[in-house]
Every structure is written in structure tokens, then in C-alpha cells.
Amino acid sequence: FTIEEIRIRGLDRIAEGTVLNYLPLDVGDELDGTDSADAVEALFDTGFFDDVELLRDGNALIIQVAERPAIARIEFIGNDAIAGDRLREGLAGAGLGEGQSFDRSLLATIERELEQQYFALGYYDIDVQSTVSPLPRNRVGLRLDIEEGEPASVQPIRFIGNRAFDTDELRDRFEMGPAPWWAFLSNRDKYSRERLAADLERLRAFYRDRGYADFDIESTQVTISPDRQRIHVTVNIDEGVQYTVGDIELAGELIYDEAELRPLLAIESSEIFNQRGITRTIEALREKLGERGYAFARINPLPELREADQTVDLTFFVDPAERVYVRRIRISGNETTRDDVIRTELRQYEGTWLSTKDLRDSESRLGRMGFFSDVRIDTPRVPGTSDQVDVEVNATERLSGSLRAGVGFGTDQGVILNLGIQQDNVFGTGDRAEFVANSDDSDTTYRLSYLERNYTMSGIDRRYAVSFRDRDADEADLADYGLQTATASYGYRIPVTSNDRVGVDVEYDDVSLEFNNPSNIQRDFETRNGPDNTVIRTNLSWTRDTRNTAIFPTAGARQQTRLEVALPGVSDLEYYRLSYEQSRYVALSERFTLVLDGTLSYGDAYGEGETLPFYENFYAGGITTVRGYESNSLGPRDDNDDPTGGNLRLLGRAEVRFPIAEDSDGNNLRVSTFVDAGQVWDRDREAAEGPGDVSLSDLRYAAGLGLVYYSPIGPLTMSVARPLNDEQGDETQFFQFTIGAFF
């Protein structure tokens, strides 16, 4: 019959409109057997109803439904290992949550979901009881009583058949195993199949790297004690014999001639067979081929084992596949940064063959710009072609600019009031603009600086800065004098190789001093040069930067040699300052990075000046140089026992840095254990007290824990350090930190 009207009965919470939406029938349709079956099925699919019936009243279609109750609330009792809302998230993940329609079959899925979450933490002994209580308005409340029991912990791993290496050495290869007492947070002793698989892989690599070419894990047994408290893992291995490398061949289409590829081999004949050498060789060969556009080259090593004399002959078969060309370079994710600012840093052009080396250089160059939190370059194939790819550069921008006004506190600088507008990426042009007003106990500085990136097409940057500084030295525990300096500088940064840059700047410096109770050093400076001096300095710097990113780099190094010379004739004072700085980053593992910093600075007068002006002295001590010692407190002191700094400074720092939080916040926070060293000497002035001649034994050392956090309101640095060889008279400082200030 044709439907003239549709009426729905039994609706309680669900709106009629919603039901009509899902109903495949409309007023005026012809209704026959199959349609009604589809209608019923469609309504059941919505999951809202326990029962659906189609009735006929004349030409009206009556739809009789029995609504399923909705879950009003879910309560967890007895869950201490996993918080309630984490459990709720898990359930929501499986499509169960408040507001969902409820039916008996859901109970089993709810219990299974909870068990999964607990098994993941090693609680194999869990028991879940669920009770359903009806609530008004056709809703139900769900109560889940959880008895967690004890988590099962993994016992020391057992190895059978290990003759070449003893069990402890093999256990070190495993991440899973009994947790040492101090690692109370770690879940090392929780069993997980993936982790065991990864451990077994590491074991294979361990043996394969030590010549056991046909090492084999025969079987692994995972057993649990009846009281489910202990998990035992037994690994049965057959070590086989230790192989040395026989002769090595290069076969297939080499693209280069063999002589050029031989040096890339990371494994030689008669060396102990090792997988790492083979993998590194493959990497090196792939990169070499990538430089000629063979981005999809395949290198497979074909080992032939000769049991008789325990040697392995290796043939590296090279299949370059086709040379691959770049159709288009697509840049995305750059909400503020202009497209060309990113494209300039890319060494790869469109329309030519893809060089993997260029892509890698481009990735670290973008990383070093400092205003991207993550740069990813992928090369998807152009659909329908085997020789063309697009290069997709996805750069996620970091909060590169910050309008910062606030109060900071630094143990070195006391209360810091600062107002700073700093934008690393001014309107996406890549330029860096900075206006800072910063005052603390001892210093008030105003600085305005601008760096124009890619001022010329070939990548020369231009920079200029104006700053005014008023220092009351006494407040900074230095000698008792006041210093006002006004400086202006203008210059260029010129790329001289792909990683090296030369900086050339001219700086005008106007210094005026007033002495309240000058020490002998200041007195004789004033007698010779008077309180006010102007200097025109040229600053030359050579910087080589191969870091893979600016924020917490894990590879590469940054070195800078810097020479500041006051130009004779036009400057009242004639002196120069020379410094060499280097920081090197070595990735110990994905999480741990070793940072080695070193600085050597020397300054002296030339011409008829005798010494480096005292206010240009180098200082050491404090959070930016040698932690654990009071700011600027190291080195010689003047007659009223204030540190004077010196004209020779040596600093060193070794740090192991690692993130503690895995979550997103993890990548702008690092904790580190460090050893700092440093000292300042005054070569030519007869200091009242302090190390006259330079000897490394004067170096002061300190060790401790540090923290660096790029918080939204600015960089926060903190450190606790214990001086190791402080001597009488050194002012040490255990806890130092700065927040919201520039360092």
C-alpha cells in the first residue's frame, strides 16, 4: 500500500526527526515486503532500539519501537593502578561511554577492554565484577568493581646454549628484566610481547655483530608462576661458529666506477663478520647513489658461509633502479612563514634529479632556522610514473615570537623586570626582530636589533642593532663602579660554504664610567684614559654550523671564531678581543645526547694601551659559564676583594641531556647531568690576589643536574651543582635559575 502517513510510537528519548532520518521509507512510497525488512534493519543498525515493529493502520505506517536505555554514568571502584578517566578513555575508544545505548552484550566487551588495559601494565591477576542499576528516564548506571591484585614482574632472563658470552652480558642486551632499585618508575620488569620481540632482535644483532653469522634463536618460552606474580623468560639459542669475512665483491650496475665505491665499505676482509658493518656499508652506498638521483636504489648483501674455514664471502649487489626526478616541491604547514623563505633553504630544485644528500642538508638547514618545531621531508611517487616524485616539505612552526613582559628572578641577577618583543620570524619573512627592555639588580639594558634574512638573492643576511646599557657593578658583586654604554652596530652575514658563514660588523661604542670607590685597577684606568671613551670596533666572526636543529640538537656541531678589534686612530682605546667557541652534540641513543662545549677567550691592548679595559674583561662563574659558582666570582680580585675578571678565559662543559616526559611537552624540556669547568686569568696586570701565571690546576670544576625548558613565557633554566675543587675565597652557589630572562 502507499504510505500516506508515518507515525512512530514508543519513542522516549530519541527525537522523531532522527528516526525519520534513518528510515529509508517516505510518505508516498509504495510499501512491500522487502522495503519493510530494510526499514527494520536500518532502524536496528542505529543501535538505539531493542525491538522494532512495523504495523499498518489503514494507509498509515505505524513504527513500534522499544528504546534501549542509555548509559548515564560509569563508576569505577578499586582502580588505583589506572585512574578512572584513563579507564573511561579506554572504554570510549571502544565506543562505550556515557550516553551510549546499553545492552547485555556490552558487559563482556567492557570487561575485556578493562582487562586489556590492566594486562598491558602486567596486572594479570585482575578480576572485574560489573553491576547494572536502572535509573529514571530509561537510563542505567554501571558500577565496575575492580580487584587489581599484584602486577607480575619479569624474573632474570634465562639463556640456554650460550657458550661464547655469559648470561649477564646477554641480559644487558635486554630492556626487559628485573628493574634495578632506583628505577622504581620504569616498567622494565613488565612483560610485553613487543618488547620481548625487540629484545630478541637486539640479541640477534649482538651476535651478528660479533661474527656469529648463523646465530639462531631456536625457541623462547614465556612462563608465569601459578600465583601470577612472576614471569620467567627462557631463550634457547644455538650460537653457531664465529666467522671472519672472506673477500668482498661489488656487483650489479654500480653507476660509479668500483674504485670510487670501495672506500665506502665499512667492513673489510679478514675482519670479524659483523652486521653493523654491513648495514653501514649499505647506507653509505645508498647515499652515494642518492647523490646521482638514484633515490630508490636497492643494495642487498649476499653472504656465502663457508663452514670449513669459518669465513663468509660477501657480495653487495647494487640495483640502482631508475634515476628519479623531482616534479614539484610542495611546502605545507607554514602558517606564517612565507613559502620562498623555506624554499631558499632547500638545496634541491624542481625539474631535476632527486639528491637525497641535498634533501638531508635542507632538512637540517630548516631545523637550524630555529622557528620550526618539526621539519619532515617526504618523497611520494607521482602516481602513474616510476621515475618522478614530488618533494613534500612539512614544517610545523614553533611559537617563534613572543611578546614577553614579566618579572623574572635569577640567582645571579636578582629580580629581573623585562619587557621583550622578540619575533624570530617577523611576519613569516624569516627576519628576526627584537626589542628588549630588561632591568635587574645590576643592569638595565634596552636593545633593538633586526636581522634581515636573505637580504640578497645569494643568501647574505644584514643585521643592525642599537643598545643602551647602564650597569651598577657593585650590585653584580663586581668592583664598585657605574658604567653607561651606548652602542650601534651594522653588518652582514655571508655564507662562504654550505655550512660556514663569515660575519662582518662595524660597531660604534660610547662608554662613560663613574667611580664611587674605585679599586687600584680602575683608578689607574681613569688616570690614563679618563671616564668617557668612544670606540669604533670591527667584529669579524667565522661560524661553522652543522647541527641538525637549533632546539636541543642531537648531532653536528657549532663552532665560532670571533675577533673584535678597536680600530686605531678613531678609537680612544686600542684593544682587541679574540674568542673561539665550540659546542658538539653526539647522540648516545634516541633519548640521550652528549653535549660538549668549550670556550677560549683572550683580550689585550695593542699600540700604546697597556691592558684590556677592565669593563671588557671576561668573567666566569654563574649559570651561563660555570654552574655552582657565584656569578662572575671566579678569577683574580682587586684590593677591596671584588672579582675583576681577566683577559684570558677558559671554559668547558660536558653534559648528558635527556627528555623526561614522553608526551608532546617532552620536546621542549630537557634534563641533564653535567660537569662544568672554567677559570679566568689576568695575564698582564699585577692582581692583588689570584692566579698570576696560567696553570690548568687553577680551573674550577663543578658537577650537578640541570634543566632547560622552553616554556611559553620564555626559556627557563635551572641547575643544582656542587663545586668539586673550590678553594678558600671562592663564592659557591648550589642552586641557580633564571626565568623569563635572556641568557
Binding site: 582487562e115 578480576d127 646454549g161 612462563t223 608465569i224 608462576s225 606474580q229
Partner: protein
């Protein structure tokens, strides 16, 4: 339902005992060696008039069964995991590093040693000129008793997660029956190792690896043509030794073990209950709940009593007819996990602390 874990071994349960009918009297008790971890199976054996026992740190002793006086002692530099099997004039033990060692019964000299593929966590079966050893990776090795040469190897795959420990093979005439971790039994020809039959005691059910564990860790029992076996979280079954056909089976989770007399099969289950079933059809005769919550070792029949050792270091006697607890004594501080060895009125127990106890049973009323 996920079987609840048992109480940890050290927690003792106070068991109300009305009028004890029998007295346990300690005859002698001595330390063999260091205490051992749970999950290993070190039990004493009696062979032609001498009592032999081994400890986890590799010390093997031969004692006078009555006085406990040491006849000889031998120190092997191994971690013993499954001991002792005795037969054909030799003793056999298995180590944690996958080795089997055979010693001469008189004097204890090492006859031969053989490395196998994995840990040996239960005593080898010795007899009919063979030493049959089960290893933790699901293999069964048959070695020649005289030379230790490997005659054959039979293996079954091991599920992803199994219960710690495994059962010992049981020698029958020119054959051996072995229980595996996948809940199945295999009967193997002693000469060739080929499987005469394979039968299923329990089938893994449930969603998680944990719920699907059905290890046959309790030693199967052969008695007059009948074979009995029990699986964890599975069933207890009566099987025809000849054909492997399952005569009867009952839902029961077995971690302790089995004992049998002419009418009844006694089982200690995972919850610490002791069952008596009619050996012909598995019908339950009685069930003792008194020791519930303790982890019970395999029971032994001694006269009219059924002796059950428990994880609280106690030996308990139940009346075989009705399961009444008639005697109880705490033997040592450490738990006992192996079947009591009963011989002419004396009971020998080895506890986890590496001590051997000999107990006499005297009936109150005779």
C-alpha cells in the same frame, strides 16, 4: 572465569582440626643444600634399599632410609632443576642450563652428561635401559641409559604463555607417556619415538593468553591399564592407556597432582581443594575444603590415609574414605611442592629450603 591466584606460599592458613586421629613423628631431618626457587621439582627417590635426594646447588646424597645416615655424597657444579629419576642402577637429574647428568647409584660417580635444547624442570624417567627427559621447550628426549647417546627426539610446540614448570614423562612397558603444555598427552614408542596416539585432556578457551593456559604440569599417572592426567584450567581425564581414548573427563584446574588406589582417583586442584573421584567414571566421591587457599603438592596414598603436603610447609592426612582431615603437622618453615614419598610406613618430604624430612605415621588407636 579467570582462576583467582592462590595465596603466596608463606601465608599459612589456620585449619581447625578436631581430634587428630593420627600422629606424625619426625624420624630425622637434614639439610641437603641451598633453598630453591619455586617452579623447580626436586624430589627424593627410593631404590633398592637406599634413599637418594638432590639439592638445587648440585649436591646429591644417598641416605639410609631408616636412620638417615649418609652413605655417600657428591657435589656437582650445576644448578639442578629437575631431580631425581632412578632406575637401571643409575640416578638421573636435569639442570637449569639444559643438561642431563646420570650418576652411578652406588658411589655417585658421574656416568655421562648430555646437553639438551632447554631447561629440564622435572625429574627424568629412568627404566628399560633408557632415560627419557622432558625439556621446557616442549621436547622429549630418549637417551641410552648406558652411554647417554640420544636415541630419538619428539617435540610439540609450546603456546605463547604457559605455566612455569612441566610434568615428567611416565614410563610404561616399551613406551612413555608425556603431558604437554598445550593440554595434550602423547604416548611414544620407547624404541623409535614415534607417537602411538595423541589425546586431548583440555582445550584452551577464553580471550587472553592467560585464560587459554591448559598446561599438563601434574605428572600423569598409570595404574593397571588406566592412565589419568589433569590440566591447569582444564579437565581431569581417565584415558585408556592402549588407545588414548578419553573414557571420562571432569572440569577441574589441576596444579598439584594425582594419586590413585583401587577405587578412587585423588586430585589436588588449583584452589587448594582435594577431590576424590571414582576412577571408573570420574563421579566425585568427596571433596575436602579444609586446605583451601594453600598451594597443594601431589597427594600420596599411605595406608588408609591420603597424605597432602602444602605450601605452608605442612603435611596433612585425610581419611581416604570420607576426606576427613585426621592428622596435620608443620614440618619446616618452607613450603613443600613435591609429592610425598611413601615407603613402608615412612614418609619422605623435601621442602623448598633444601631440607629432607622423614616422618613416621603411627595410628592413634593401634
Amino acid at each position: 572465569c579467570s582462576a583467582r591466584g592462590l595465596l603466596p606460599a608463606d601465608e599459612s592458613v589456620d585449619i581447625g582440626l578436631e581430634a587428630p586421629q593420627i600422629e606424625f613423628e619426625s624420624l630425622f631431618s637434614m639439610r641437603i643444600g641451598q633453598s630453591q626457587a619455586d617452579g623447580l621439582r626436586l624430589r627424593p627417590v627410593l631404590a633398592d634399599g637406599a634413599l637418594y635426594a638432590a639439592s638445587v646447588d648440585g649436591r646429591v646424597v644417598a641416605l639410609d632410609p631408616v636412620s638417615g645416615e649418609t652413605r655417600w655424597a657428591q657435589d656437582l657444579d650445576v644448578r639442578v632443576a629437575g631431580a631425581l629419576g632412578a632406575g637401571d642402577g643409575l640416578l638421573a637429574l636435569g639442570t637449569a642450563s639444559g643438561e642431563v647428568i646420570a650418576l652411578e647409584r652406588d658411589g655417585g660417580a658421574v656416568r655421562w652428561r648430555q646437553s639438551l635444547s632447554s631447561e629440564v624442570l622435572a625429574p627424568p624417567a629412568v627404566g628399560q635401559a633408557s632415560v627419557v627427559v622432558r625439556t621446557a621447550d616442549g621436547h622429549v628426549f630418549a637417551l641410552d641409559a648406558v652411554t647417554g647417546e640420544q636415541r630419538w627426539l619428539y617435540s610439540r610446540n609450546v603456546p605463547a604463555l604457559t605455566l612455569r614448570g612441566h610434568s615428567s614423562p611416565v614410563l610404561v612397558n616399551d613406551g612413555v607417556v608425556a603431558g604437554f603444555d598445550n593440554g595434550r598427552l602423547s604416548a611414544l614408542d620407547l624404541a623409535t619415538g614415534s607417537a602411538a596416539w595423541e589425546s586431548t585432556v583440555a582445550v584452551p578457551e577464553g580471550r587472553t593468553d592467560l585464560a587459554r593456559m591448559v598446561d599438563i604440569d601434574a605428572d600423569p599417572l598409570v595404574d593397571r591399564g588406566d592412565l589419568f592426567a589433569g590440566a591447569y584450567q582444564g579437565r581431569v581425564a581417565g584415558v585408556a592407556l592402549g588407545s588414548g581414548e578419553v573414557a571420562w573427563a571432569r572440569e577441574l584446574s589441576v596444579t598439584g597432582g594425582l594419586a590413585v588406589d583401587d577405587e578412587r582417583l585423588y586430585v589436588t586442584d588449583a584452589q587448594g581443594r582435594v577431590w576424590a573421584l571414582d576412577r571408573r567414571n570420574g563421579a566425585s566421591v568427596w571433596r575436602a575444603e579444609k586446605l583451601r587457599g594453600l598451594r597443594l603438592a601431589a597427594p600420596s596414598v599411605a595406608g588408609e590415609y591420603l597424605l597432602v603436603a602444602a605450601s605452608d610447609g605442612s603435611i596433612n592426612a585425610l581419611d581416604r574414605r570420607n576426606g576427613e582431615l585426621v592428622g596435620r603437622r608443620t614440618v619446616g618453615s618452607a613450603g613443600i611442592t613435591v609429592k610425598p614419598l611413601v615407603a613402608d610406613g615412612r614418609v619422605y618430604l623435601q621442602d623448598l629450603a633444601g631440607r629432607l624430612h622423614a616422618i613416621g605415621i603411627n595410628d592413634k588407636d593401634d
